[in-house]
Symmetry: C3
Subunit: 140 residues, 3 copies
């Protein structure tokens, strides 16, 4: 049984952005030579998340509507208090609900994912120069 760690460094250019990191992650899994085990992804940020879904332009624009829906909800429940400090409460809430970690199963040396499952870094408060995704594989 072995454990290997690595990380991706990501620069985002927009306030909301989906960066497809599937090939980087699959490269790490293949190079780890782990045949049977699992991968943990962890985002060490309060306004970013991992999203696993289809790489289709329309759908990606729909993901950007999640913080917009939260901003519309402010009209119903009162202005988010964090916006007085930093105008990014919707990004914090969306990131927290999605959660910082995601796991994938590795079988026969391959990361298992569905036909319509690409892996994205979801920037919710960009642009940012120093975003990261931590990767850890464990297995044999």
């Amino acid at each position: 049984m072995k454990i290997l760690n690595s990380e991706l460094n990501i620069v985002t250019k927009n306030n909301l952005e989906l960066v497809n990191i599937t090939s980087d992650i699959e490269k790490f899994v293949v190079e780890s030579k782990i045949k049977n085990g699992f991968l943990t992804l962890f985002v060490p940020h309060a306004t970013a998340a991992i999203i696993v879904n289809e790489d289709e332009e329309g759908l990606k624009s729909d993901f950007f509507k999640i913080p917009k829906i939260l901003k519309q909800a402010e009209l119903l429940v009162g202005r988010f208090a964090h916006n007085k400090i930093d105008n990014n409460a919707a990004g914090h809430l969306a990131a927290s609900i999605a959660g910082p970690s995601t796991q994938f199963i590795i079988k026969d040396g391959k990361l298992i994912r569905g036909q319509w499952q690409d892996i994205f870094f979801f920037e919710l408060d960009g642009p940012r120069e120093k975003r990261q995704v931590l990767m850890q594989v464990m297995g044999e």
Copy 2:
């Protein structure tokens, strides 16, 4: 330390459906003979998720309101672009926010869950004939 993989095959009959898979998963954990470790569940689909909550009929109908809430939100933020291709954007968004993976702790040979925690496959774009839940246990 050992690693064992298996999968559940699921057929759904409705557009929205909650399939209680608790007993199938517990059977896999018991048969693995792992006494101390953990279980990873992974859904290889872009419009389905795992939900862990109470098996109560009213509550299950409330879960079906999650995509309905997203559809109401479209009236506020503009029609989801993915619906031009495939009328299931709300299912993609709900699945992505829930995330494809969930972990459970195994102690004394048993999967640990709370009194009100059953495990459901949440179909968000059915009916479908070939849904799966991947299961992996690691431990000793």
Copy 3:
């Protein structure tokens, strides 16, 4: 490779509450003496979750708006059926979407988290006297 389990016992005093459990969790990781591995947190409740985000008072009050947003949504999609049994459907839905489990990577004997990532137990249907967070570390 070793596996260690423990748990936190939590008492909540309010209907909605965020309990910062970061130092308790870091103490468990340090005492486990695991240098390289990962931590799983699991909440064995249907109306509570783990939230990883910034410990800022305004933002914490914004998290309490998540169930309030779901209650506003009831006006659009019809009253939640579970509320006829137990007036906490919004808490069940919020807990389910957040999910019961979260993972952290351990490197050099330390739990890895971002500068703005504290770990909270999110009470969604309190007050409760017997809440728990299960903790498991695996590694070497």
